[in-house]
Amino acid sequence: MITGFRAAEDAMHGYSGRLLNVDLSSGQVGIETFDEAFARDYLGGNGFAIRLLYERLASGVDPLAPENMLVFAVGPVTDTLVPGATRCCVGTKSPLTGLFFDSTFGGMFAAAQKRTGFEALMITGRAPQPVYLLVHEDGAEIKSATQWWGCYTRDTNLAIRDQETSGTEVLSIGPAGENLVRYACAVHTWDKSRDGVAGRGGLGAVMGSKNLKAVAVRGSRKTSTADPEAVKTLLGEIREPMKVGTAGLKQYGTTILVNMINKIGALGVRNLQTECYDKAAAISGETFKEAYFEKDTTCFKCPVACGKDFHVHDGEYAGTQWKMPEYETIFALGSMLDNAHKGSIVKANELCDQLGMDTISLGVTFSFAFECFEKGLLTRERCGRELHFGDYHTILDLIEAVAYRRGFADLLAEGSVRLAVQLGAEAANYLYAVKGLEMPAHSARVLKGMSIGYATATRGGSHHDTRPTLQYATDHDNTSPAGKPEFAVQNQHFTAVGDSLTQCRFVSERGFGGMLNEHYPRMINAVTGWNLSLHDVECIGERIWNLERAFNVREGVSREQDTLPYRVMYEPVPEGMHKGMHCPPEELQAMLAEYYALRGWTPEGVPTQEKLQSLGLLSVVGALPR
């Protein structure tokens, strides 16, 4: 337990000093406090989530059991002048990986949560009936959501918002979360502009397991900033690089990556059987925008506006109006499935959001199943239909079937790794997942920094532990493993800090910098009034990363799980600019050895007592298996 922390409300800039504790089983709601020392050690968001989960969640707990905890946490710069500080971090134990997971989402929710005066909401237990949680400045109320059980996310969000008073922001799950689809997500609707999706890791299923249909937040507290002028000075300095670095993003959103990544031969196609897509132009950002663009959308106070709303005017899916599918979605529901029908991708994206499912895990699970069908490991009899790459009608049918766990789709709802277990040893060769999490659209074969980054990611196959952004630069040597373990270590500290500040990655990387640098302590100090050095901020990132690793080690992770898919290790890229590239096992093992040494971990990947001591974590973590 967090004991000895004195109430620090109104005594800290950037923080309220309050946490909210909700037990859905008993209906009890409690307010706790934390002090500056806690904030200095973990910042907020991701840091708060792992600290609270490590302390309060016993190892071995089933992620879908009432004991699992959801933590919704914001950071010190949320709802301040700092741009892009509009994300909320949700931490939990993932039903896909069985490990620590955090997923962030944008929109308006984070600012509204900050205004309640609760930096983190801790939610445990299981309500006897479907409920939603309304959080306000005085605490929280658990309200019936029976009437919305079974409803789509957007309908639920708008209905709850309309039922509550003005300024209420809502995030909810769809039928997939209710039916415990292991990659169910949660969706926040901000009808004034950009919606947000806490997409990865299956936190929607955790909400569903708790009978928690939605979380609503409403408040009016202001967050004090220690030195607003210092913030403004810093913003003046980062304005130009942010403008240049997000110029394409502003116009096209993340879809601008499709053509470029395909050109360098790094876009996964047909379950990664190749990485050059001959139909990429049909699903590129440029094509999508020309065909369907309706308007720009933005998270609260963001100067970039990378969100786009689309309107499909013609073809089978005419009338579909939904947000733009992101680059990762185009990969997972497009090239990986050899689906170049752009209208169907917008429709599939809408269905996934409305039903509440992560497009990456879903699409990659489908592509795995399609290849297994191609190879004869799945049959028409077992699936109830044929599974063919490029068949977008089947894709759309299956999306709905997964959400309701109908027939064979019940197996797809378990994710690709659990499905592979059902199909025999050969099937494992076609998986594209790390630690149970399906991998995203930044090639583990072409980008060596991603090879080691994915293998060591605490989330598993995520591109938000080690970032691909800097690895696409033409002056970055993506082909050699040299220096990549160090790159991964440093970049993982950057993402840990970023997700703890709960700052948008895009604004952060292109405005403040893609690695920790002096801008970050200046930002934090200006808001909080502290005097952190760059080294101090790096230590915070390292502390958070080590605590995440300790959590996973406690759940059984060691070197053996720090691995890559068979295809990445044994099947070279067959064509294109990076033909021949892969990450053979011996290369991965050499990088792992270097990575563990840099981290001060044992050769099995376990943080040492000395390392934990140096980060002030020994009393938190205790003894780990060696």
């Binding site: 116009q251 959103g253 659209a441 033409t474």
Partner: protein, 130 residues
């Protein structure tokens, strides 16, 4: 021998930009350095003759490319100045030269061009996403 170089710039506010530059070379084998120089020479000459709207721009900085908004704004200096800029930017890996899907790093390496050889100069502006 006729040569066509395709310049591709990714990440512009207009999306990707593809521009072709056609010229002749005296011999089929030349160094990367010579290829760069010959391409730049051709582009500058065409710009001065008002036969192309502006430079392809692969060796220009992201700031210049984004602020320029259009190719018309990418006006050249002297041939010598532009060649030096292009060579320096290549050495700094500010852009890639890719011939038949193979990236070249050494400016002094010789390349033998055939009529069907695909020559691409690729610039990736700072991108973010995913």
């Amino acid at each position: 021998m006729h040569v066509t170089v395709t310049t591709i710039i990714f990440g512009l506010p207009e999306g990707q930009r593809l521009v072709s530059t056609r010229f002749t070379v005296a011999t089929a084998t030349l160094t990367v350095r010579e290829l760069i120089a010959r391409k730049v020479e051709q582009e500058v000459a065409e710009c001065l003759a008002c036969e192309r709207p502006g430079l392809s721009g692969e060796y220009l900085s992201p700031e210049v490319l984004i602020k320029a908004r259009t190719r018309e704004a990418l006006t050249p200096g002297t041939v010598d100045t532009e060649i030096v800029r292009a060579q320096r930017a290549f050495a700094a890996r500010d852009y890639m030269i890719v011939i038949d899907d193979k990236r070249l790093f050494d400016p002094d390496i010789g390349v033998t061009l055939l009529p069907e050889t695909r020559i691409e100069f690729i610039k990736i502006l700072p991108l973010v996403g995913g």
